[in-house]
Symmetry: C2
Subunit: 331 residues, 2 copies
């Protein structure tokens, strides 16, 4: 029996990662090409095509029977319905790029080519390969430079009318609060992204005038969220309170997602989850404050499971994107 393979493409601001993925979510081989700085779509498509051909040739050298089914793509500002990337602020492409149509033209041998935003792809990856296997309703928050999310309802991604649903990173947490990257004040992303965690730490340093904190000797541009995590694990009070507050902020947004979609579970993915219980315990505790009784157990704990993603950090974007192919196959 031939082994079925899907391709995952993760389009980032600087690089585009491309890999071949087995049906169990294992990345077989992968590589990376630059995302064009000049916005030249034709050259980019040609480069993706030749890279895929190399990966597939190498794969077939190992397993001549391998059958490549299609390509799944995760990208910022991706419109699933139209197969386009639209006005992505961190990419050099101008306006609306019909990437799926162009790839289908270049590679007619691919049965399925499909595109969605990176957080949606991660949620699909969790459902097809990760901790969401067997679940039909869950929400995934991806915590990184920004905060993305993907909502799985009834076994499929919630796309909404125009394909852009699932922007839970822009839940209003603090009216008139911190400036978010999108230009609106008080959004969750400004509090719960890696940068948001740093901002909380700096606010607390200033609030307590905490000259003895392990975080007090790094500049704003030097400090990273992982430094806060390391300091917290050493018992630093500012770092511990930073995670406590981050858990509380995140709980407000997750409570909103639970009230909207009644998921079986909420998965968290990304760098800040490496803090483990330092983040998860305050998050779960705060959820008991913010949830409607309908969404809580008799002991006050959330009915929805609050879980860390089972996707491997390094491969998650490729693996998530490749999950689109399996999802299309089901349809």
């Amino acid at each position: 029996m031939s082994k079925q393979i899907s391709l995952g493409i993760d389009i980032g601001g600087t690089n585009t990662a491309i890999g071949t993925v087995a049906q169990d979510g294992t990345v077989i081989n992968k590589t990376s090409i630059p995302t064009p700085k000049d916005g030249n779509v034709e050259a980019y498509v040609a480069s993706i095509k030749s890279t895929i051909n190399e990966l597939v040739s190498a794969l077939k050298a190992l397993d001549p029977d391998a059958e490549v089914l299609g390509i799944g793509i995760g990208a910022p500002n991706a419109n699933y319905h139209k197969g386009t990337i639209e006005h992505a602020p961190n990419l050099a492409f101008k306006g609306v790029v019909p990437l799926v149509a162009k790839l289908k033209e270049a590679m007619p041998e691919m049965k399925y080519i499909s595109l969605t935003n990176d957080a949606n792809a991660a949620a699909l990856g969790e459902m097809i390969y990760g901790g969401g296997r067997g679940m039909k309703d869950f929400v995934m928050y991806t915590l990184g430079t920004g905060v993305g999310s993907g909502i799985i309802c009834n076994g499929d991604l919630l796309y909404g009318h125009d394909g852009f649903a699932g922007e839970c990173g822009h839940t209003m947490l603090v009216p008139g609060g911190r400036m978010c990257g999108c230009g609106v004040q008080g959004h969750l992303e400004a509090y719960c992204s890696a940068g948001g965690i740093k901002r909380t730490a700096f606010e607390l340093l200033a609030h307590y005038n905490a000259t003895d904190s392990l975080l007090a000797d790094k500049s704003y541009n030097e400090l990273e969220a992982k430094d806060v995590s390391i300091a917290a694990s050493k018992g630093d009070k500012i770092a511990l309170e930073t995670f406590k507050l981050t858990g509380d902020y995140l709980a407000r947004g997750i409570a909103d997602s639970i009230h909207h979609t009644a998921p079986e579970a909420v998965f968290l993915f990304g760098g800040p989850t490496a803090a483990g219980d330092l983040l998860m315990n305050p998050l779960k505790e705060a959820l008991t404050k913010y949830l409607l009784p309908t969404f809580k157990n008799a002991d006050g704990t959330p009915k929805a499971k609050i879980l860390i993603s089972q996707l491997k950090a390094g491969d998650a974007a490729i693996v998530g994107a490749s999950a689109l192919v399996w999802k299309e196959l089901e349809k």
Copy 2:
């Protein structure tokens, strides 16, 4: 050709309204029975059955060919998946009531019997009979004593894992803010329900010491949201600012719903919508502040249409509930 009819039941804390509804959403006849104060489910089911038999007999006297297809029920704390009403604080029933099973036993001639919460039923009513005809993705907020909501995704209600999705009235608007009926501080319902509007008016009276306001001569227990609406239409400054603030509060919650589900439209239903542009204009203006660019037009206005429900106020609950039958028929 026989005319197909569905029955709608709206279970309220005091009364249960029951009506027969034509396929165009017209209520043909309707009546009301008391919702039991003693929590006796058996007697309640018998009473519903005899009331339905009377309504159907009267209907068949008018149109002997009328075919009754089934019963749709809107109720608080309703679990669509299980057909149960669960721990409803405003009903006398104890614990979990398997209402659908009991009605099916009592009336085996009904092809479809189905139950959902009242706001979900209203959303279905909007899709089947109202302004949501032809739409596949929209959100409906019902503003009344509380604030309910129903989310239509991909042409069906979003139920979530346990059937309780769509509680947008409990979006956290103001951390540490007003006490909500559910016991959590700062939820949308405490700001945008009819009572929430009154609370805003009283806060503003106190803030400005507005002894000359048209609202300054009624007690807290006397004043109703519609008094605020009347005063606003006369140019009363406190009343106008009350609606401006209500629109702003509502916009924060609706922005969250748009960020989660990317709807084609958001419908508002209920008493406070009688204020018309007094509410809708500040709401639309505030949405331009709170939405991600992805969800706005080039001129900053929301892409999602912000609309007042087309369901008739008096019949909406029965009509909405009856829509469940047509929805089940589609499946």
